[in-house]
């Protein structure tokens, strides 16, 4: 019997778990994927929105502003890359000015600090690579950046260090109330009884909500596709560059990431299958076309990858946070958490975690362990720090990923973390090994070996991202025998 089961190990589920783990009780986080952050949390813009975008009075607005103000401290506690470079929303004609002025009004109503309208000359001074056709812009100095998957992994680790159990690679099939006033969570591999259930299932949250509530919701899967540029290339913009929404659409952004890459995108296409994260030529071409408005001479030579992510949009457009309406007691949820969900995550985690704890009448633990910050990466160390790290652990002397300068020590540590990496992609999210220019071409065979050494499994068991995504299909002898069974 659990006190609480959180469904979904994305940034929201992990933030709730981290908060709830501050209280006494037995909790678990269940996810369909083999790793945390393996849905929308790994594929988004990584923006901590200032909070001018959401309509005043909505949950989106309230939680965005509250969450973004929590980020600086939280990211530091967790040791997660975070920065606050600011943002510009660009207008390219006088027709855009009223829209920008309206955004400014919203900013003021939402209590976002420091926003103002800036004119062409100041914009070009701030960001010289901006298309000179720009007319005016909204400047939001508090707009931030975070590495969303590293944030999620760190939240998960903190929860796990304080007793939260992570049950991964185990899709939830059904959630139902029991006769004795508790809840039953039925998964592919098991059944779990719990006093409270918290639905943070992202794209899957609608299905779960509708299983238990008489008030139905409708989820729409909105896919966004991106280009990612190498950090070796000169950074075109230091701030996040949005485009003013027009009747032609929302536009795309150009933004640095916390690791110095440049991100272009996303598109917004409603799709039928909420888990289909394929990229398409059409959407990638759309990104390129739209980016030119912000960055006239866009240079795609440093592109290292393209990817897509799904926004879990609820048709009424706002977050649905709290106790599930129209359901028996003990059901909680965070449904429709699309952008600015990442920005709101710390606030949602705190509020929902506290709410569940209150329901459980749980007390704050006296032995709660503060998060262990993720150590500084080798790549960001000074020579002195590198030597010091080496003296602690000789494997800091072995570079495995040459593009991102990731050492063997860091890869082993990623596998040994409380919620440790079990696949090539999971190592990548925690260390950046394979995230660089060669996209794992050189390091993946070695990462695979280290995973085998650490986990005590055969190379044939290692996957790229769980399930059937095995990297290797057999030994040379096995495959040759399959092909020529008559030969010895």
């Amino acid at each position: 019997m659990y006190d609480a089961i959180i469904i979904g190990a994305g940034v929201i589920g992990c933030a709730v778990a981290q908060q709830l783990a501050k209280y006494s009780g037995k909790i678990a986080v269940i996810d369909r994927m083999e790793d945390v952050a393996d849905g929308a949390s790994k594929a988004n813009s990584g923006i901590v929105h200032a909070g001018f975008d959401a309509h005043p009075g909505t949950e989106k607005a309230r939680l965005n502003v509250k969450g973004s103000k929590m980020y600086g401290k939280l990211a530091k506690e967790l040791g997660v890359p975070y920065g606050q470079p600011g943002a510009l929303v660009l207008g390219f004609s006088e027709e855009d000015r009223p829209t920008l002025e309206n955004l400014l009004k919203q900013a003021i109503a939402n209590e976002v600090e420091g926003c103002r309208i800036v004119e062409r000359d100041e914009i070009l001074k701030m960001e010289p690579n901006t298309n000179p056709d720009v007319v005016c812009a909204l400047y939001a100095p508090t707009s931030g950046l975070v590495s969303p998957y590293e944030m999620t992994c760190a939240l998960a680790d903190s929860a796990a260090e304080n007793g939260a159990e992570f049950i991964l690679n185990n899709p939830v099939l059904e959630v139902k109330p029991t006769m004795d006033g508790n809840w039953l969570v039925i998964t592919e591999r098991n059944e779990y009884k719990t006093r409270a259930v918290v639905n943070c299932a992202g794209m899957g949250s609608g299905v779960i909500h509708n299983m238990i509530s008489s008030r139905k919701v409708k989820m729409i899967a909105r896919r966004g596709e991106y280009y990612l540029l190498d950090h070796m290339a000169e950074i075109p913009f230091t701030m996040t560059m949005f485009q003013c929404p027009t009747k032609m659409g929302k536009g795309v952004l150009v933004s640095p990431t916390t690791h110095g890459n440049t991100l272009l995108g996303p598109t917004a296409d409603d799709i039928d299958n909420g888990y289909d994260v394929a990229t398409t030529r059409k959407a990638l071409d759309t990104v390129l076309e739209k980016v030119k408005l912000t960055w006239k001479n866009v240079n795609l030579r440093p592109v290292i990858t393209t990817f897509s992510g799904i926004r879990a949009h609820e048709e009424n457009g706002d977050f649905i946070i709290g106790e599930v309406e129209g359901a028996p007691a003990g059901a909680f949820e965070a449904v429709g958490v699309e952008s600015p969900g990442l920005s709101a995550a710390p606030a949602i985690g705190q509020e929902l975690g506290d709410q569940v704890a209150a329901f459980l009448k749980a007390e704050l633990k006296t032995d709660w362990v503060k998060p262990t910050p993720v150590p500084k990466s080798f790549r960001n160390m000074t020579d002195e720090e590198r030597q010091a790290a080496y003296e602690q652990d000789k494997e800091y002397g072995v570079l495995v990923c040459r593009c991102e300068q990731v050492t063997e020590a860091e890869i082993r540590a990623a596998i040994r973390r409380p919620v440790g990496a079990r696949s090539i992609d999971a190592v990548k999210r925690r260390t950046r090994a394979g995230m660089g220019r060669c996209q794992g071409g050189f390091c993946s065979p070695r990462v695979l070996e280290i995973l085998c050494e650490e986990l005590g499994v055969s190379p044939l068991e290692i996957t790229k991202c769980g399930g059937d995504s095995k990297l290797l299909v057999g030994t040379l002898t096995q495959i040759a025998k399959e092909a020529r069974p008559d030969e010895n």
Partner: protein
Amino acid sequence: MKTENMINVDILIVGAGPAGLAAAIAAKEAGINNMIVLEREDNAGGILRQCIHNGFGLHRFKEELTGPEYAQRDIDKAAEMGIDVRTGVTVLNVTEDKVVTAISREWGLQVFKAKAVVLAMGCRERPRGALAIPGTRCAGIYSAGTAQKFVNLEGFMPGRKCVILGSGDIGLIMARRMTLQGAKVLACVELMPYSSGLNRNIVQCLQDYNIPLYLSHTVVDIQGKERVTGVTVAKVDENRRPIPGSEIQFECDTLLLSVGLLPENELTIGAGVEMSNVTSGAVVDDCLQTSIPGIFACGNVLHVHDLVDHVSNESFKAGKAAADYVNGIVHTGREVPVKDGVGVRGCVPQTIKLEKGAEHAPVSVMFRSDRVYQNHYIVVKADGKAIFAQKKMICTPGEMADISLNAKALAACEEAAEIVVSIEAEKPAM
């Protein structure tokens, strides 16, 4: 790091593949003793270690060797000569002042102060991401070299049924290797109307095994949720855009990419060396010296070669030149730029130092053609006046072209403002 902790060396060579080893051997022969070669892998030999097929060394050794055999000859020679080759050492940074920072399990962080540095880091494969091929990001998509490493060094098969995108040499070699090992190679797909690999590899690796080569085709979609289940290939028009309706579907579990090699120049760029947009390598003079005096570059980090024999040859020159630099033998003379003319891409060297009497002749210039040419002339002009012409039966982008300018040709350049190499249909008046 404080200067007193620095290790002083005459020459520091980054990389112990064929380029680094050849440079070291040449420098040692020229009398350099205080020299160190740093290699990040646990073994010297570079990419040749995984190239277990034969065909290496025909020019240099006049015999057909496998990659490991070719590499071993240089490794043995370096050992015989007492050259200090340190493996498992990754160079992190090279400065303009030739201060080199490296780290290793054995020695930790080390800082070297070198009189000359030879950059020989080799190249890497372009990944899927660089091509922005649409589709899913499932397992089963490998660059050909990664697959080669799994098969030849680790003893594992990355797939059973595969399609190869790109007809670069590694892709062609892997088509044969996978087939021999029991996998089915369904197709080799090339975007361009010609292969970017050596002709002998097209014959020996595809034709001999009845593997179809689809020229002017590309992969337009990759399917598969966790592992590749299929790829869609389409014909492309003259602007390399897919032609709707020409799609061919292949059911496969693996897509191998052999879509180009890129010199690995992070350290070069970090040092502030002037780079070429065409070769993606350093700009060098005919001594393989970069824009920073005393920093030399050779092999695939300078420009992507087709034959290792050429890599070795070029690197001997770089090693000798680095030794000369340390020994105070200064190559003076007026620098004349060598430019790409019609049909020519990526001339190396980009400048020639014309010394009195042209005693460093012959100077070789290497480049690739921008497309296939038959029965054309490679022409060198000094300020528009032809000083060299050589008929070629065939010039193809897959094969490095090289010409050798003798003393007479160089003498004819003495007053020239620029030298232009081009490919022309007619023999020019000389």
